[in-house]
Amino acid sequence: MIVPRELAEHGQSEAARAFIEMLGISKRFGGVRALSNVDFTIRPAEIHCLAGENGCGKSTLIKILAGVYAPDDGKIILDQQAHSHLSPAASQRAGIQIIYQDLSLFPNLSVAENIAFRHHVETPVRLVRWREIVRQAREVMSRLGVDLPLEEVVGRLPIATRQLVAICRALAAEARLVVMDEPTASLTHHEIDALLETVHGLKTHGIATVFVSHKLEEVMRIAERVTVLRDGNKVGTYPAREINRYRLTELMTGQKFESSLHSTFSSEVAPILEIHGLTRRGHYEEVDLSLRPGEILGITGRLGSGRTELALSLFGMNPPDAGEIRISGKPVLLRTNRVAIRHGIGYVSEDRLSLGLVMPQSIADNIVVSVLRKLTGALGLIDSGRRRKTVSRWIDELHVKTRAPDRPVQELSGGNQQRVVLAKWLATDPRILILDSPTVGVDVGAKVGIYQIVDALAARGIAIIFITDEVEEVLHQTHRILVMLSGRITATFDPAKVTEQELREAISA
């Protein structure tokens, strides 16, 4: 968009340069204060990141901008006009387009029709002008510099392409501001690069972008300015080049981010897991490793380096072609995951470690949910005595502070909830726990919680394989690091003796 001339000319001050200003915005939901006195300004054609942990008020602020919610207090200045609130229609008329995380596309309709769906709604009483729809879709695509299959049904496209369709649709609606809510949550690294490129393209067309994200790496790569929210308050707005990731983490969480690894292990103890020459053609080759009780072994490498395939083999879900797996010195054949579980191997994928609680259910139910089979009595019914014993054992051992184990988990404080997660995994009595990317898509505060859980599990003598992409994570949260590259283990590091830079080079060698 073009900056109104009278604004651009005397444009020294912040207010004059703004395109949208939200001033003193407050919002309550019942007794919960979602936002209090938050200022948020967006300049024309800027890339602005709105950062903060889950529940900090990001979504509420965006929904006020979209006209979904009316603020209790404050005003929104749009094109020099002050509004106490916006309606969804007024927000869209002003050129504000929100791309929600679910993208809100029609999976059953073609790319072209998705891009130009607005036609159907705006002119409901006339024949569908298919030519006009295709023309507009083409025009928007060429403006964005992308080439999408116009006739293809959106549901058959990969997520990254669907995102482009959503961006095209925003452009077709004459957007001046595109707000993207967690746009990278389900993208690969490569796709994220392409998306960031596209966002830069929007900027050259004079369109502002607000990125709502809690993924710091992206925030730092793309944003010009960063606004941080915490617990409904604005922490501040910063030029992106003046802050780094650690500073941003501090701003978002309000606490210093450092290694939380306290557990140690004894290298005297015999390894619980040993692998020799393990190979699965096309997946990984000649893998040797050993793991001792209480050790946290980090495995890192790019997506497709074979790390997940290896982990699945250890869990009996991807049988190797050659090589040997020994558990406590005895060779084993892990043909199915049931066999693996019997050998005391647990596998936790992605966010299961953090989201492993069923909030409305009781503490007791959450603790025993994964071991119900072990608690069944003669008729396959749950033996309530054994259930009670298991529950009280873990509540005592881990000092879960609660009045009664029958209360819902959601009543507990965050720390106590973490202890319940811990109890849940300990109850399964694993000897080896494989954590595959446990912090993907998790916000910073919750990450710290996960690290504490992993550390506590290791302190209890459980051997842990921690698979992750994130260099800082593997550096600070493990005892030993293996780097995988194209199916082979190419390097082993002691986290205390390697720099972040060396590790990055090893991964991308």
Partner: protein, 322 residues
């Protein structure tokens, strides 16, 4: 196999077409009476009532809902229209107009209940089916209307195409036009594909639902009139109990029970398939009690196939992620 051929073979409508052709060949070799013009025209006429109802149900399925009450709506409208015609007289225009009005209104009642109660459409329409039908039985005490006007029951045909077939053809063409050329039709596809997105795009959800269920009621009532014309009487319980046949035909034709997907051409093929199968079995002397078996199986297989395809899709994306 050439690429275009294998692509064509993956298309649902082509598959159904091939199955119909194979079955028709099979039945005509076993029973010489099958492939005669007389039998085929009978077949079309017999299934025209089902085809008219199927158009309405198709629209509701695409919108992401389901309508079980349409046969009951047809029965109620049939009775109301017949009563009015017997008492006050009328012509075909007034018969269709009245039927469309009653059917449309009853359909809109469904939509409003679904929207404002926020209940699942299958539960609401099963309830209204029972409700509409019970009122009808209560009022009529199960008595039929035989003294329909002469103009109503006499045979009409154009270029030797029977009247019911003509009405069915018009209903199908109208639905085709609605779904492919009118913005409201495209909005209905959108609503079925992603209701949340439709809301965010500013679609009038309750309006679209009223239209879809109203259209279903409208078509059901038209079908009811055509059926009364064919059998020359109005029997309150004649139509009830055949909902699943129509549903089976539409689902066979590729309409998804989870919304957003379905075509008129597919629906035609679905009805043809069911028609050929049932007619062929009759000619072979197989008991008509087996039809229920066939329709039940069809619904089961289509639902399973949809679920299986979705599962395979998920598995593929999992493998992709690894």
């Amino acid at each position: 196999m050439p690429k275009y051929l294998s692509a064509a073979l993956r298309r649902h409508d082509i598959q159904i077409g091939i199955i119909i052709a194979v079955m028709a060949t099979f039945f005509s070799t076993l029973s010489p009476g099958f492939l005669t013009l007389g039998n085929l025209m009978d077949l079309l006429e017999n299934y025209s009532v089902m085809a008219i109802m199927a158009t309405g149900l198709l629209v509701v399925l695409i919108s992401g809902g389901i309508d079980i009450s349409f046969e009951a709506i047809a029965a109620v409208s049939q009775f109301l229209v017949a009563t009015i015609l017997v008492r006050f007289g009328g012509n075909w225009l007034s018969a269709f107009a009245l039927a469309g009005l009653f059917g449309g209104l009853l359909g809109v009642v469904n939509a409003l209940l679904i929207y404002y109660l926020g209940a699942i459409s299958v539960i609401v329409t099963i309830s209204t089916m029972t409700f509409y039908f019970s009122i009808l039985m209560f009022v009529t005490q199960g008595r039929s209307i035989y003294d329909l006007p002469n103009w109503f029951t006499s045979n009409i045909s154009f270029l030797s195409i029977p009247f019911p077939v003509m009405v069915a053809a018009i209903a199908l063409l109208l639905t085709l036009f609605l779904l492919s050329q009118l913005p409201i039709g495209r909005q209905i596809y959108g609503l079925g594909g992603n209701p949340e997105a439709a809301k965010r795009m500013g679609c009038n959800i309750v309006g679209l639902q009223c239209f879809a269920y109203g259209y279903s009621g409208f078509m059901a009532a038209i079908a009811g009139i055509v059926q009364a014309h064919r059998v020359e009487e109005v029997v309150p319980y004649a139509l009830i109990g055949r909902e699943l046949d129509v549903l089976a035909a539409v689902v066979l034709g590729g309409a998804s029970l989870s919304g957003g997907i379905g075509t008129v051409s597919g629906t035609v093929l679905g009805i043809l398939l069911l028609a050929v199968l049932q007619n062929g079995l009759t000619l072979l002397g197989v008991s008509s009690y087996s039809f229920g078996l066939v329709t039940g199986l069809v619904i089961l297989v289509s639902v399973t196939a949809t679920a299986y395809a979705a599962k395979r899709q998920r598995m593929r994306s999992v493998r992709h992620a690894i």
